[in-house]
């Protein structure tokens, strides 16, 4: 084992004189006042290794002993990860609290998985089978999922199963199989293994293009700026625009198997809400609690900065592990800017030549590398799994021209830009409908959303104009366009996340409601005066909001829909030609869905 001694300290960076070989990104422990502090090698110059310490560096002195582990920064994988709350280095926080009390004591590292718990294992491979890294040897039930016990990802060559235990209860460290390679080397395998966080897992057959929508049950997203399973998206926005609330709502309602929340450098209070509420909230799909399908990686703003950088990698590695079981995972990272800032702090200490706003020059490639670990894959057993990454960005001053936002925009498939203007006007979710974009297909027939977007765009222009010339100087036709765009905004784009019904709108309902909305948009009206037009749309809006708040296909729902339809007829004089055609393509508007 290589050893070294501390020769310099600058903030959380320690310079170590090494006797022997060191590896880049190797984990080492600095001995300080009887404690061993975890650190990672980030630069090597001759006999000097520079390391970032994942803990407070107070009290470290020149001459302190350093032990190198010859292992890269890794996470432990195995059954029991779900429902856990970890810090950025996969330390289980509740267990840590039980041991250390209120505060995060440094130098205490606990096992991420319960080593005493017994799991009912069912083998799926048999002696003589040929298996490769990532293939299943058997399964254990973990919550509602069948957790595959896999051949550790490290093995590069196909292996032969020499021996496998019969079905029964085992602990994660028990040997459950013995594998051998061509040379006859034998490898005992347990239910758990480690994997370096910065190395993507690639034990799949092929990567596929993400085309299937990931339903978030947020109308503006699913209809106008959709996310795909296996895709990536980012949410930049100034403070107070509702990034975290949007993430929280998504984490509850998104149609995926597992949600991994990486709370990276943000407020502790926000994680606490998730932490305390998820165990009480029911997952509508399974009836179990939401916590049972969630993993929280929590490295909040006052926790050590170096571990913040590690936390997003810890999260993505856990996601890759579950994807390997044919599951669909959503990784929510809040916020990637804090992670970029952690890189910047370290880069500054390393005295690297700074790029824009002092971010390191490699910022772009690091961000790209992270988002590229998302994806839809086909596994060797033909099943498929996906990781979708949604990252928030906290741009300085709310200005999207800064390096983190720009680097992120280059690599993501959808952009949900939050606007201060909309959040100030209490229009939630405050996603800007005109500036945001997505490259993925949505729930709704595309010409329909294009048509609606066009009305939003032109209506917005009329609205701008009206600020200058006033209502008096606007033509009735333009004014009607403006009212239509406002109507889309208030009844469709905005959504009340506190209302039990409106908070989450499933696919079927979205399609249904969109058709009704579209009927309004495609209609020609006979108003006569602006007062009449405004009055009409105010009434219609009120009915539509009540409609949005009533349970799907209930009595109220039908009644409001009938009211809206008959009210619409009172002023409707015809139909826009293009709109009418699209309306037919959208399907029948009275019956349910066209299947």
């Amino acid at each position: 084992m290589t050893k070294g001694r501390v020769v310099g300290i600058n903030g959380n960076m320690v310079t170590v004189e090494v006797a022997g070989d060191v590896t880049m990104n190797e984990v080492a422990y600095v001995s300080c006042a009887g404690k061993k502090l975890k650190s990672e090698v980030i630069r090597i110059r001759g006999r000097l290794a520079e390391m970032q310490v994942f803990e407070m560096s107070r009290g470290i002195g020149v001459g302190d002993e350093v032990e190198f582990t010859a292992e890269l920064l890794s996470v432990r994988l195995g059954p029991g990860l779900l429902a856990q709350v970890y810090d950025g280095l996969q330390n289980p926080l509740p267990e840590l609290a039980a041991q250390c009390g209120f505060f995060l004591e440094r130098g205490v590292y606990l096992s991420p998985l319960d080593e005493k718990k017994e799991w009912p294992f069912t083998p799926t491979a048999g002696p003589g089978d040929t298996v490769s890294a990532g293939d299943a040897l058997g399964t254990v039930p973990e919550g509602i999922f069948s957790h595959r016990i896999m051949v550790p990802f490290q093995f590069r060559e196909p292996l032969r199963v020499e021996r496998i235990v019969p079905a029964g209860s085992y602990r994660i460290l028990d040997t459950i199989a013995e594998l051998s390679d061509e040379k006859g080397n034998r490898f005992p395998v347990t239910m758990t293994f480690t994997w370096p966080v910065k190395r993507p897992v690639t034990c799949y057959r092929e990567r596929l293009r993400p085309v299937e929508p990931l339903v978030t049950q947020i109308r503006i997203i699913d209809t106008f700026i959709p996310v795909a399973r296996g895709g990536t998206y980012c949410i930049p926005g100034p403070f107070g625009a509702g990034k975290t609330v949007l993430q929280q709502v998504t984490s509850r309602n998104a149609d995926v198997d597992i949600v991994i929340i990486a709370a990276c450098g943000e407020r502790a209070g926000e994680v606490v809400e998730t932490l305390r509420e998820f165990p009480k909230l029911a997952d509508p799909r399974t009836g179990r609690t939401l916590m049972e399908r969630t993993v929280i990686i929590c490295n909040t703003s006052s926790m050590p900065v170096a571990a913040r950088e590690a936390s997003v990698y810890t999260a993505i590695t856990l996601a890759e592990y579950y994807r390997q079981m044919g599951l669909h995972i959503l990784l929510l990272a809040d916020s990637t800017s804090r992670w970029a800032q952690a890189l910047r702090e370290m880069s500054g200490r390393l005295e690297e030549i700074p790029g824009e706003e002092a971010f390191p020059a490699y910022l772009e490639s690091v961000i790209a590398g992270f988002y590229e670990r998302a994806g839809l894959v086909r596994l060797r057993d033909r099943s498929s799994g996906s990781i979708t990454i949604g990252g928030t960005v906290s741009p300085a001053g709310g200005n999207f021209d800064e390096p983190v936002t720009q680097s992120t925009l280059k690599v993501v498939g959808a952009f949900h830009g939050l606007s201060r203007e909309r959040s100030d006007a209490r229009k939630y979710p405050a996603i800007h409908p005109l500036e945001s974009w997505s490259k993925y297909p949505g729930l709704i027939h595309a010409p329909g959303t294009e048509y609606a977007r066009d009305i939003l765009f032109r209506g917005n222009e009329v609205g701008q104009m009206m600020k200058v010339v006033g209502e008096e100087g606007t033509a009735l036709e333009d004014y009607e366009l403006y009212l239509k765009s406002e109507f889309i905004d208030s009844v469709y784009l905005q959504q009340d996340s506190y209302d039990p019904v409106d908070a989450a709108v499933p696919t079927e309902r979205q399609r249904h409601v969109f058709r009704l909305l579209f009927k309004v948009l495609a209609s020609r009206f006979d108003f006569g005066s602006k007062e009449m037009a405004r009055f009409f749309f105010n009434q219609l809006r009120q009915k539509f909001l009540d409609y949005n708040g009533s349970p799907w296909q209930g009595d109220d729902f039908r009644r409001y829909e009938d009211e809206i339809r008959s009210f619409l007829e009172t002023k409707r004089s015809g139909e826009d030609e293009e709109g009418g055609r699209i309306l037919k393509e959208l399907g029948s508007d009275t019956a349910g869905d066209p299947s």
Binding site: V7, G8, I9, N10, G11, S57, R58, G59, I60, G61, V62, G63, V85, L93, P94, A97, F102, F103, L104, E105, R106, P238, F239, G240, G265, E266, R267, A268, G269, V271, V272, E273, L275, R276, C298, T300, S301, S302, M303, V305, R338, Q341, R344, E345, G348, E351, P354, E357, A358, F359, S394, A396, G397, G398, N399, D424, A425, R426, G470, E472
Partner: protein, 436 residues
Amino acid sequence: MKKIYSRIEAIAGNVITVHAGGVRNGELAVVSSAGQSSLAEVIRLREEKVSLQVFAGSRGISTGDRVRFLGHPMRVSFSADLLGRIFDGGGKPRDNGPELDENMIEIGGPAVNPAQRIIPRNMIRTNIPMIDLFNSLVESQKLPVFSVSGEPYNPLLARIALQAEVDLIILGGMGLKHDDYLFFKETLEKGGALNRTVFFVHTASDPIVECLLVPDIALAVAEGFALQGRKVLVLLSDMTNFADALKEIAITMEQVPSNRGYPGDLYSQLAARYEKAVDFSGAGSITILGVTTMPGDDVTHPVPDNTGYITEGQYYLKNGRIEPFGSLSRLKQLVNKDTRADHRALMDSMITLYAAYKESLEKKAMGFKMTDWDRKLLKYGVIFEREMMDLSVNIPLETALDNGWRILASCFSPEETRLRSELLRKYWPSREGESD
């Protein structure tokens, strides 16, 4: 006993470098010059070269001065004896009282385990309608007052401190004008709160390094009291001065600046302080109320910008009033559901109408035709500003709610308020009491 070194190799800004062995990161030392001595803290080590930042500044320090290492990091005495006392940023008494050296605790301790936090649930009443009614302050919240210099933010802070239902007040002053320091002292004295207050004050003329210590020292003490089960309110004025002190030291240390000269870790540095706000389950709590002056009323300036991302909202003080727009308490929905049934709805309705008033005002300024509705709004806006926003209004929440209904009734018909019918039936003032 620790060795004494008497060869200072370099002096740059407030940082000195000595040749010494066996020194630990963050350790404290005493630098003794001819007539004075000052504390200094180790901030960088390279082999035998030790860099220290000198709390009292480097002016007058000679290369021949003696440096004695103390073998421990910066600490502060923690006991009930602190109450009613006034200290400087280095923990030295400013009030001619005795120095305290019992039960020394380290400052800048570790973060609270998120798994040990609880969801905040108690409202702190301040009797200021713009806070209690529209943006309730919650125990364990961290909230800055965003303000332009010249606004009465210190009187506001002092008033909240006096009226808030807390056990202890800890004032951390950074770059405080001497007048402001005296103002705080006199106000709290007059209000009879001095014996439950601890001051850590760095005034504008004190050495800059001591400014850096103020939040840590104030919060370490607050943490001590909170763990004993006390509800502590920490006032930090002004955090922009703290950030500027960080900038100054970072530049001296030749760190690469990121945004307008501020160090890249400004966010982490501010967060490490603000995140000390906590509600300990089974013990007390720390609530932090800070002041962040915005140079040029620019909310995108790095200090207010980074602060906004860290804190749970902000009070935006402008023209001597807390503006309803731009102000936000992120935790208010945790408490305003339990105050009175009409609280939330009335709050939303009054704000929506005030926003509409602003629009009408704009229309009027541009010479557009005023409708009846516009005229109603214009009337409402003036009353709202007078009875709700004026900082001299000092009433309990319940009175503020009652006044809210009265104001609405004097300007609008019930259905114009968009309030739900059941609330209107219960709270809408009857015709008789109404003024025209």
